[in-house]
């Protein structure tokens, strides 16, 4: 009986406000900006690829514990031209690349003028969120004649774009079994040198931080690093010292990752990363 009373009470409350309630949300059509920079972005990114480029600072795009400075307006177009030349064109120029790029390109690219400054004194070079957004930093240092800036920027873009691939298709089969002992504990990757990472079978110390970062770092280095094969793939000949032997053992592990990644892209997207690499390398 008591249960029945409770049920009746609930019905009374729930049924008491259903009368004549309509949802009439107005449809708001935002006015298109006529600002020259906004028009440029609309014509070159939003309309052809569905990418919204956010260069005006909005704090919800950045973790509130981080500190960043916004981009300089006059450097946004040079940065976007750089993205077109080194990111869009190499991908859309290869077989299946145009469809791949349009289907996987994130809906938003966030431009940050500075690094992302972390509270522990480190900086973050870029982020990717659930395949929907890439955040690029250091826009205010844009200079395509500065090889250090170019490589760091390309490393970030290709790295973050690669994250979208494993977020969509998972990691290549057995990728996690290739060098499981080499990964570092949380927050300690920066204690490794490049040399130590190589011996463990990784292209960079950051790649040792987890499987996903390993995947993204390997793809990025494969695409932008001119000496990729000499550094990470080809065995050093006449190897007799323990150091040299360990480096070659690391390269053997990277070769397995390299082959798994190439096959993974080919199988899931139809894109041959080596063709993309060839186009990028020809631009230097």
């Amino acid at each position: 009986m008591r249960k029945l009373q409770i049920l009746l009470c609930g019905l009374l409350v729930l049924s008491s406000c259903y009368q004549e309630e309509k949802i009439e949300s107005p449809v708001i059509t935002p006015e298109l900006s006529t600002d020259a920079l906004d028009v440029y972005i609309r014509d070159n990114f939003l309309d052809p690829y569905g990418v919204a480029v956010r260069y005006r600072y909005v704090d919800r795009y950045v973790d509130p514990t981080k500190r960043v400075a916004p981009p300089k307006e006059e450097l946004v177009v040079p940065l976007l031209n750089f993205l077109r030349e080194y990111w869009i064109e190499p991908f859309i120029s290869v077989p299946n690349g145009d469809a791949f790029f349009k289907e996987h390109v994130p809906a938003e690219v966030i431009l940050i003028g500075s690094f992302i400054y972390n509270t522990d004194g480190t900086v973050t070079l870029g982020t990717a969120d659930a395949g929907a957004r890439i955040t690029l930093t250091e826009v205010n240092n844009v200079d395509d004649a500065d090889q250090v800036w170019v490589f760091r920027q390309l490393g970030t873009i290709y790295h973050e774009f690669a994250h979208i691939v494993h977020q969509r298709y998972n990691l290549p089969p057995n990728f996690q079994q290739i060098s499981p002992q080499g990964y570092t504990s949380a927050g300690s990757w920066f204690n490794l040198t490049d040399e130590e990472a190589l011996r463990r079978g990784f292209v960079s110390p950051y790649a040792t931080s987890d499987f996903n970062e390993d995947f993204a770092e390997t793809v990025a280095h494969l695409l932008y690093e001119p000496d990729f094969y000499e550094k990470y793939i080809n065995e050093q000949a006449n190897c007799t010292t323990p150091d040299c032997i360990e480096r070659n053992e690391g390269r053997a592990l990277i070769r397995r990752k390299y082959n798994a990644i190439l096959a993974h892209y080919e199988q899931n997207t139809g894109v041959d990363l080596l063709q993309v690499r060839a186009i990028i390398q020809a631009k230097y």
Binding site: Q5, C9, S16, R56, Y57, R67, V68, A69, E73
Partner: protein, 448 residues
């Protein structure tokens, strides 16, 4: 008793269906849009814009900033801050008023404010997002959004037609010109009284807007001086640097109170420590309030660095921080010295029987090991001038099996030390600079 439980429930049901329960006449979106439009109307209203005395941190000095907002979400910002080749003297960027927990003013793209925000790896307390507080007596009050501990309050006051005269662009440019002929990072100034035998050695921190008095000496020399440790914020206003706190006291027998320096006439001068005199400028004027005539000039003498070896013994200059007349030679050095990591300078003389006085390079070998290639020296120190007499060869430490390019290493060390005219300057508590004025080479060192 249980039957009475139905009574409040029934009342709740009857009351719950009343129409027209709106507390506000308009929707939340409409009210937010109106509030934004209202603040925007206030911002664009003054014919001459707004003037703000902006103090990024409590310990810093202040900037006079003129802000002129327009209807198209653009704001013109005028300051007397000369960084980035004077870009922030007059800049127009986009702004936005947002509604979050309250109204916010966001300066959306890079400006004078974001330049300051980014200083010292974005730990300097400047900001470019502001919460609107209220309107008080015709002024608009904002508070910084990103300072969690002590938010900066900004009062926007309607600017008068001649408010631009508060900016001291000419003064800022002239101060830059005092040091421009000396291609080094650290600026040390000498402020001399015309009518007294007294000079102060001081430094200016441009983005903090602080002035530090480090030494008082007879204006005719540096001996017989007195160390000082006085720092205060300042504001540039027209042709004057106005101090937040006055420098007061008796220095070398002179009773002094300095509340600011007014500077108005540049003249040519020279520094004569090299075979060829170095052309510089002097800036003359008078002290605010006392009107004592004074002259400000760049100085090769840095009293705060003269006793560097009492405080610091190890100096490291990372690749890229060695300069030829202001231009980094890092890339060239990397090509010339295979695996170079940094220039190293050790001055450990606490054990006179076994001093470790040496300069050279840290080298990363291909095998992953490190080699220190260091050349011992015997110093002669006069004030902040160091003369180096080097041993003929490098000594290797750590991995001693590597082969080093002594000729290439000598090139860079010679540039910094040749002629016996190397000076050390204290840039900050943790950064020192070696500078050779006779060829313009310099190196910034992190003090460990």
């Amino acid at each position: 008793m249980r039957r009475f439980l139905w009574i409040p429930l029934l009342a709740f049901w009857l009351l719950s269906c009343q129409d027209e329960e709106r507390v506000f006449e308009k929707s939340a979106d409409e009210r937010a849009a109106e509030a934004i439009a209202d603040l925007k109307a206030k911002l664009v209203a003054p014919a001459n814009g707004w003037i703000v005395r902006y103090r990024p941190e409590q310990e810093s000095g202040s900037f006079n900033v003129l802000l002129n907002f327009d209807e198209n979400n653009r704001v013109n910002i005028k300051t007397d801050f000369g960084a980035d080749d004077g870009k922030y003297y007059d800049q127009t960027i986009s702004y936005r008023i947002d509604n979050s927990l309250g109204l916010e003013l966001i300066l959306e793209t890079y400006s004078f404010f974001s330049y300051l925000y980014e200083q010292e790896r974005a730990t300097f307390g400047a900001e470019y997002e502001f919460n609107y507080v209220n309107e008080t007596e015709g002024n608009l009050v904002f508070r910084s959004k990103t300072d969690f501990s002590s938010p900066t309050t900004l009062v926007f006051q309607p600017a008068s037609q001649d408010a631009g005269q508060k900016l001291g662009i000419q003064l800022a440019q002239n101060l830059d010109s005092l040091t421009s002929s000396l291609e080094k990072s650290t600026a040390v100034y000498k402020l001399s009284y015309t009518n007294r035998n007294l000079a102060f050695y001081l430094s200016l921190d441009d983005f903090r807007r602080t002035i530090s008095f480090n030494y008082a000496a007879p204006k005719t020399g540096t001996t017989g001086g007195q160390e000082l440790s006085f720092t205060t914020g300042y504001t540039i206003e027209g042709d004057a640097l106005l101090f937040d706190d006055p420098l007061t006291g008796n220095f070398l027998g002179n009773e002094v109170s300095v509340t600011g320096i007014r500077l108005n006439e540049l003249s040519d001068a020279s520094i004569n420590v090299c075979p060829t005199p170095i052309a510089i400028s002097n800036y003359s004027g008078s002290l605010v309030e006392s009107n004592d005539p004074v002259m400000l000039e760049t100085s090769i003498f840095d009293p705060s660095a003269a006793n560097f070896r009492d405080h610091v013994s190890d100096f490291i200059s990372p690749l890229g921080f060695v300069f030829d007349n202001g231009e980094s030679v890092g890339e060239q050095m990397a090509q010339d010295i295979s695996g170079v990591n940094s220039l190293q300078f050790y001055y450990r003389d606490d054990n006179p029987d076994n001093p470790f006085l040496t300069m050279g390079f840290l080298i990363e070998n291909e095998s992953g090991t490190f080699t220190f290639a260091l050349k011992d020296f015997t110093p002669t120190i006069t004030g902040n001038q160091i003369q180096f007499e080097f041993a003929p060869d490098y000594t290797l430490y750590n991995d001693t099996t590597t082969t080093v390019n002594a000729e290439a290493m000598d090139f860079y060390i010679n540039k910094l030390t040749e002629g016996g005219n190397t000076y050390i300057f204290k840039s900050t508590d943790t950064v020192y600079e070696l500078y050779n004025p006779c060829n313009g080479w310099s190196a910034l060192f992190r003090a460990d």
